[in-house]
């Protein structure tokens, strides 16, 4: 029996914010059989992309797509305070449909950034941010600081493709030509592979950024060199400030250790001001280590359509923004929403258990390619073709560079975009009659 082998090159892995676009995928008879160049996580994701698909179900019972969509429309149009949530692991084309559905329903829409890098976005609203694309890091950066993140385990190829050992235009030697500094509360594989690991006490990000601002600007700090800030001597921080001022093109990559420790948005705000002020001396930038493949795209779509990157409520017919009031954790903790449309995220695995539990008490429509903790209890489960494997569309990398992920295998299921379009059309129809 002849098997048809197709080799796809420059495939984009949609797992994390790195969006590595050099993956080679072999497909035999419409099954992914081999994945080359990807990291372990990406390889596993691609190898298992076509297995473990859920059935179309309503209350756990198999049904037709048509019936599932009708039930979804029924739930959403009868809800008084529906939530549209997710966005982070699907295409911007699907995300655009989600915003429109939220608008038609006068619903609330949010994405996981409200409990990940949302504080960073709120900081940008206060002070802005000096940033760059990953290629600038590869080609130019001579100082890279990882702060509250561990890319060796979360964004595995970040270091080789972009930030540490990548051979850039002005750094043909790669790793040797860069200084790598890690700031974290405990040793991690990333801190171990850094030139300098600064182990700090938890919850002191704001103090560290404040101190560095003063040191970089050569302002008096009223403390001796032996005084400890975040458990580290001022003299050490002074050394870091000197290193920062002395570099030609420096970048801070910050993770949830910065955005989700005590202080949240004001941590990032202080960090952004620090980066901005360093630019009085040299070129300096910061970038959020965005997690899910297209969480950055979700923020972009929501911003160009509603004006705000997350936590938007349409109950008055126009977009209103208020993180805390309209972000997913608060809404669920206060048990305010009475139905939810969830796409391309896994609240059963991601949300705090007691908060996520409210979702089990209300009707939930869930679009997802694979079985996971949420498919176990969602009211309506609609399996979809996975973006970047069985569906095409746009993904935004962690530096907001948009790429087109492509369909490489056929699926029995529709894409998120197609299902959402059908739901939208039937909601409009239901509202008009």
């Amino acid at each position: 029996m002849d098997q048809e082998l197709k080799v796809h090159s420059d495939v984009i892995c949609t797992f994390c914010g790195c969006l590595c676009d050099d993956i080679e995928v072999e497909v035999v008879d419409n099954r992914i059989s081999k994945v080359k160049k990807a990291c372990m996580i990406g390889r596993n994701k691609l190898m298992h992309a076509q297995s473990n698909n859920p059935d179309i179900t309503i209350a756990g019972k198999p049904t037709s797509l048509d019936a599932a969509i009708n039930e979804a429309v029924n739930i959403l149009t009868n809800a008084r305070f529906p939530l549209v949530y997710g966005l982070s692991s699907t295409t911007t084309e699907a995300q655009r449909e989600m915003v429109e559905i939220a608008e038609i329903l006068n619903a609330t829409i949010d994405n996981p950034s409200s409990y990940c890098h949302g504080p960073g976005l709120m900081a940008r609203q206060q002070v802005g941010l000096s940033s760059c694309t990953l290629g600038e890091v590869k080609n130019r950066a001579d100082l890279v600081i990882f702060w509250g993140c561990n890319p060796l385990e979360s964004h595995v190829r970040h270091l080789t493709r972009y930030s540490v050992s990548a051979k850039g235009m002005f750094h043909p030697e790669g790793r040797k030509s860069r200084k790598i500094v890690s700031i974290d509360i405990r040793p991690t594989p990333t801190t171990k592979s850094s030139d300098w690991f600064i182990q700090v006490t938890p919850g002191n990000t704001f103090e560290i950024a404040t101190l560095l601002r003063a040191l970089v600007a050569n302002n008096p700090i009223g403390k001796g060199d032996d005084a400890l800030i975040a458990g580290v001597a001022v003299s050490k921080w002074r050394e870091l400030a000197e290193m920062i001022r002395g570099c030609k093109y420096g970048v801070i990559f910050f993770g949830l250790g910065v955005t989700q420790c005590r202080g949240r948005d004001i941590n990032v705000e202080q960090l952004a001001v620090l980066v901005s002020e360093i630019n009085n001396h040299t070129r300096f930038y910061a970038m959020a280590m965005r997690g899910h493949g297209n969480v950055a795209g979700g923020n972009q779509v929501m911003t160009w359509q509603t004006g705000f990157p997350l936590a938007v409520n349409f109950s008055r017919g126009y977009p209103r923004y208020n993180p805390g009031e309209f972000s997913v954790i608060g809404l669920l903790a206060r048990k305010e929403v009475d139905a939810a449309l969830i796409v391309a995220t896994d609240p059963g695995a991601h949300l705090p258990a007691d908060t996520g539990d409210h979702l089990k008490n209300i009707p939930v429509i869930y679009l997802e390619p694979h079985n996971n903790p949420t498919t176990e209890w969602a009211t309506v489960v609609i399996p979809v073709a996975q973006a970047g494997v069985a569906a095409s569309g746009t993904y935004y990398r962690m530096d907001n560079v948009p790429l087109r992920v492509k369909k490489i295998v056929d699926s029995d299921h529709l894409s998120d975009e197609e299902v959402l379009k059908r739901i939208k059309e039937r909601i409009t129809h239901a509202q008009n009659y």
Partner: protein
């Protein structure tokens, strides 16, 4: 089919100067007529009929525009629209969300819109937003003035090989980004800033390829000519916003004299220096030179007092603005291509600098004799939001109104400007030229900006009022592709416009060493770089030549 009767028609291309004429429309186009008697009629009695407006320079879609929206949620506090059965909701009075941008332009009578600066790596983003900008036909300009492939090609010692390589790069960039024109922003200056070096002049060698701004501008101008592009280089010169930059702008004009070029937001580039080093208007000298060079066009970049947002690929300019003013600053360096920055700003009439800028823009529009070469723009949102066009039209058309503003302006402004001496008032015909016919011609759009047979049925009908701000603030009718989309200032129908692109005379191909270079240093695979056809679902390709 549709017939517009009894309206005073202003169609400068076809030499119709405010005469009562019928306009006949069939199948998206304007036709000679007559149409069958049962044709639907729009009675435009007491109204002025013009071609749909053509916006030649505005920042409405893409990475930095969205950055601007993200930066200032407060600009939405008192500016929002609820969704209706036809319309999507929106907000932000300075950088409106995409749908609102389309609706607001349509209400002002515009039907064609160009996004002024798109870095190639972010082109998909711009197209995604343009797809969500309804009603208008849209296109975008591709930023090239600090592009490594352009600079590397220019560094080629052999002249013939240099020209060939450059032509390949420019065609490839336009094709890859689905762009409409070559945009140059602070040529060489953005790259120089990334090396933490100072400002560049025409002959400053810029790392890493040691080419000069002069080489970049003249090289790209020549390539645009050789590719027979419908719109020449669209140029934001070096030294934007510096007192005394007029001298530099004149030098640049001299360097480019003889080749077509569009100087954008010229107001920001026309400052003389006062004795104490402050801002003074250089409009007289700039306009004099410009008047004698019919190969140039420009748009004004008129200042609007009030809060707005500066956003440009000119990252060093934004950084110095931030250093000067403090406050919010967003920056994004884009690998091998450009930078960009966003800084909110408020123009105030009692600030001498802002008052000089305000006068200077109007002076340029009044001192440049030929309305076919100077166009109305606010470089939206840099000098002010486009929604202020009706006010600006009144300022151009009504000298008494203009003079009444002096009560608000800084008292010393007359020492540094000459606006108070200028008596010219724009006519309705001249307004039609600077807002539609002129930009359409400069863009090489033969089916737009006029109402002759064969043109797209894009027609704006304004109610006649003596108060020209009132007259232009919302169209009585806007007809797009023969469909009535605006009636008495309200949107009646919304649909997607066309994406304007180019049909190039050559295939865009990178020379071998350039391709190798790209593959080695870009973080995006060569095969993933090019914007796919899915991003322009309703394309209209304009043939070059």
């Amino acid at each position: 089919m549709l017939r517009i009767i009894n309206g005073k028609v202003y169609d400068p291309v076809n030499r119709i100067h405010g005469e009562i004429r019928d306009i006949c429309i069939r199948d998206q186009k304007i036709v000679e007529g007559p149409l069958p008697p049962e044709t639907e009629i729009i009675d435009a009695k007491g109204c002025v009929v013009m071609p749909g407006g053509v916006e030649i320079h505005s920042h409405v879609a893409g990475a930095k525009v969205n950055n601007g929206r993200m930066l200032c949620p407060e600009d939405s506090a008192d500016h929002f629209r609820a969704h209706t059965e036809i319309l999507r909701s929106g907000c932000n009075g300075v950088v409106p969300t995409t749908f609102l941008t389309g609706y607001e332009y349509a209400r002002l009578g515009y039907t064609t819109l160009f996004e002024a600066a798109v870095p190639p790596l972010k082109a998909r983003h711009a197209h995604e937003e343009l797809r969500d900008t309804p009603i208008l036909d849209t296109g975008c300009y591709t930023v090239m003035g600090n592009n490594y492939l352009v600079m590397k090609a220019l560094n080629e010692p052999d002249e013939i090989s240099r020209r060939e390589k450059l032509m390949g790069v420019v065609a490839w960039l336009l094709e890859s980004t689905r762009g409409y024109a070559v945009k140059i922003v602070n040529p060489g200056g953005v790259e120089n800033w990334k090396w933490n070096r100072g400002l560049v002049d025409l002959d400053t060698p810029v790392p890493p390829f040691d080419v000069t701004p002069r080489m970049i501008m003249t090289g790209l101008a020549r390539t645009a000519y050789e590719l027979k592009l419908p719109h020449p280089i669209h140029l934001h010169t070096n030294h934007l916003g510096e007192p005394g930059n007029m001298a530099y702008t004149l030098e640049t004009m001299k360097a480019l004299s003889g080749s077509r070029a569009h100087f954008t937001h010229l107001q920001f580039h026309s400052y003389d220096k006062s004795k104490r080093g402050g801002f003074a208007s250089g409009a007289v000298a700039i306009a004099e030179y410009f008047n004698n060079h019919p190969e140039f066009t420009c748009d004004a970049g008129l200042i609007v007092f009030g809060p707005t947002m500066t956003m440009t690929a000119d990252a060093p300019m934004e950084f110095s603005l931030h250093q000067m003013k403090g406050g919010k600053w967003s920056n994004l360096d884009i690998e091998m291509e450009t930078g960009s920055g966003v800084v909110p700003i408020k123009y105030q009439p009692d600030s001498l600098v802002n008052a000089v800028q305000w006068c200077l823009g109007l002076e340029l529009m009044l001192l440049i004799n030929d309305p076919w070469r100077v166009f109305l723009s606010t470089d939206h949102p840099n000098a002010g939001p486009f929604t202020s066009y009706p006010l600006l039209i009144k300022l151009l058309m009504d000298r008494d109104f203009r003079m009444s503003w002096y009560e608000m302006l800084h008292p010393k402004v007359k020492e540094y400007t000459c606006l108070h001496d200028l008596t010219r008032e724009y006519s309705l015909e001249e307004i039609a030229i600077v807002t539609r016919s002129g930009p359409a011609r400069a863009l090489g759009l033969k089916n737009r900006g006029h109402l002759g047979a064969g043109a797209y049925a894009d027609v704006a009908i304004y109610p006649f009022f003596d108060d020209k701000q009132k007259m232009f603030s919302s169209a009585s009718y806007l007809i797009k592709d023969g469909r009535v989309v605006v009636r008495d200032g309200a949107i009646k129908e919304s649909f997607s416009g066309r994406a304007l692109g180019l049909e190039l005379p050559v295939k865009g191909e990178l020379a071998g060493d350039l391709k190798e270079y790209f593959e080695q240093y870009s973080t995006v695979a060569f095969s993933n770089y090019r914007v796919e056809e899915e991003y322009t679902p309703r394309p209209e390709l304009i043939r070059c030549g």
